[in-house]
Point group: C2
Chain length 174, copies 2
DNA sequence: CGGTGTATGTTTAGGTCTAAATTTAGATCT
DNA sequence: AGATCTAAATTTAGACCTAAACATACACCG
């Protein structure tokens, strides 16, 4: 019996070109030229995110919290942004920021001020502890990331990505 | 009073170059040359994933389930893979596959066979309903994706991404 | 001067993931 | 045969996210 007519055992690494070829075989006529661009982007994002998550877990921090405090740190003095502004810069929903801030506040990394101004606006400010933690982690993280992508020349790749991001951003903005 | 010394109101779109410049200003000496490559990759991945999630939500399907059934569909006859193999191809943990399969099985999209072979191996097979749903959705999804990235020539971008993925993959493999 | 509008922030319901603990079914050794 | 080993699968605990419902505060207008 051909008990091995389908792969139940060993795993094969499937590349983007294999995926595109498989769809052309299974669904002739469907456009597949986006696959060699989109698949590596998703895989790279996942590899980088996983690597960062594992490193941060060792330090007792989660990636969402680092994203929050490093956005505040990067903004410079006085290290304060509104919930709305944080949502826009972190690219997550306002609800997600509300939850992130609650966690970070419990850990003493940020403080929440009283609502103020026209539509009630809540200022979130980095504490000294949050400031120090951010500096320690971001330096190490950027050094790891620089090692991961290597020393080669990524000028043209960066330019291509910037252009694609602008195009996709324009077309997905409703 | 300078009540607007920090941006609590309107949101500015912050590009990768702004982020790199901010870190050079706030943390001199930290390497920032990975940022113009890594940031657009994360943002593109998020834009594409969000667009896909919204489209699928309208169809009553979630992205994780489509990833599962399209991986089985793409494998070709007899549309069967083990849990382990699915985890490797979908790039998620075995536990996540177990949960995805449980949901998809409840919806009648896949069936789980009895364990078999040396280390117990569970075959997961696409049903006729799952087969049809996949074909309907994948065609539409690839057409949307092709529109999003546009008609330009992405040959060199794809090559650069493939090369970077190989390099990062080699360096993150423990 | 009180209703209506509008933008913000918070809460909640539902769903996903990872890591770790647990279960399970053959293989192997004595 | 029985103990032990091993790899796979499942379960569970803990975190996170989005979308939608809800709460809030001020501006504006009739």
């Amino acid at each position: 019996m051909d008990d091995d007519a389908y792969p139940l055992g060993q795993s094969a690494t499937v590349g983007a070109d294999d995926i595109a070829a498989a769809w052309r075989r299974e669904l002739p006529g469907v456009p597949t030229h986006s696959i060699p661009v989109v698949t590596p982007i998703w895989r790279l994002a996942k590899l980088l995110a996983d690597d960062r998550r594992r490193f941060l877990a060792d330090q007792g921090v989660d990636a969402a919290t680092l994203d929050l405090i490093s956005t505040l740190r990067r903004a410079g003095e006085p290290y304060t942004l509104s919930t709305r502004e944080l949502a826009a810069r972190c690219l997550v929903s306002a609800g997600a920021i509300s939850q992130r801030v609650a966690r970070a506040e419990k850990d003493g990394l940020v403080t929440r001020g009283p609502a103020r101004g026209r539509p009630k606006t809540v200022p979130v400010t980095l504490t000294a502890e949050g400031h120090g933690l951010t500096d320690r982690l971001v330096g190490e993280l950027l050094r790891r990331e620089a090692e991961l992508i290597g020393d080669g020349d990524h000028e043209t790749l960066a330019a291509g990505l910037r252009e694609l991001l602008a195009a996709v951003g324009a077309r997905t903005a409703q």
